[in-house]
């Protein structure tokens, strides 16, 4: 079975500060991918960052980076220099070799000016 857990339903951060969103997962597959998606009010899902499980190096994409702890099955997202446009729902997601893509419950991020 594949499960994704996001234990924090909401977080807030001051503009220009750093915030970390947590995610843990479980899978029996050895080859899998992890994603963070952002969902603005328009409901369209936007890929933030992707991590292949076989890669030890943490993925980075501009102000977004992950802390991937494979043994602990943890995949947290760090947003640096937060901007007002970062406010959205954030979803952690997992896909294994079966192509089954599952999402966590999501976390609402508020950015305060």
């Amino acid at each position: 079975a594949q499960t994704v857990t996001q234990s924090q339903p909401e977080m807030s951060v001051q503009e220009a500060e750093t915030v970390t969103l947590s995610c843990t997962y479980d899978t029996s597959e050895s080859d899998y991918y992890l994603f963070w998606y952002k969902q603005p009010p328009s409901r369209q899902m936007i890929l933030v960052i992707r991590q292949e499980a076989y890669k030890q190096q943490n993925a980075t994409e501009n102000r977004f980076s992950v802390n991937f702890q494979k043994a602990a099955k943890s995949f947290s997202l760090k947003i640096s220099d937060s901007q007002l446009g970062d406010a959205a729902m954030y979803f952690c997601a997992l896909v294994g070799g079966s192509e089954k893509l599952v999402f966590g419950k999501g976390m609402k991020l508020t950015v305060n000016p």
Partner: protein, 115 residues
């Protein structure tokens, strides 16, 4: 640009009706997915398909079925609609993730209300 089109933005049905939600993608994607999104529950996978005529149950398939007769179309069927199936339904498509794909494309969603 890839386009994933869901046939209806809003739908109102009666309890017991058979409901069809249609999803069409125009980029020859192998994978197609149906999710429902409810406040506090995130996106829950109902069914997915990795090829024509192939379908796999997701985490909440009860009360639903799917059809994929053509590669571009993935239909979700509510055999006998119930009030607890009132939800936002999202269709998505992608190339195979195991081939290194990272992009997932969503439709605009169908807000279904069952009265």
């Amino acid at each position: 640009d890839v386009k994933v089109t869901q046939s209806s933005r809003y739908l109102v049905k009666r309890t017991g009706e058979k409901v069809f939600l249609e999803c069409v993608q125009d980029m020859d994607h192998e994978n197609m997915f149906w999710y429902r999104q409810d406040p506090g529950l995130g996106l829950r996978l109902i069914y997915f398909s990795y090829d024509v005529k192939m379908k796999e149950k997701g985490d909440i398939p009860e009360g639903y079925s799917v059809s994929r007769e053509k590669k571009e179309r993935f239909s979700l069927i509510l055999e006998s609609a119930s009030t607890n199936q009132t939800s936002m339904y999202l269709c998505a498509s992608s190339l195979p993730f195991r081939q290194g794909n990272e992009k997932l494309f969503f439709g605009s969603g169908t807000q279904l209300s069952v009265l």
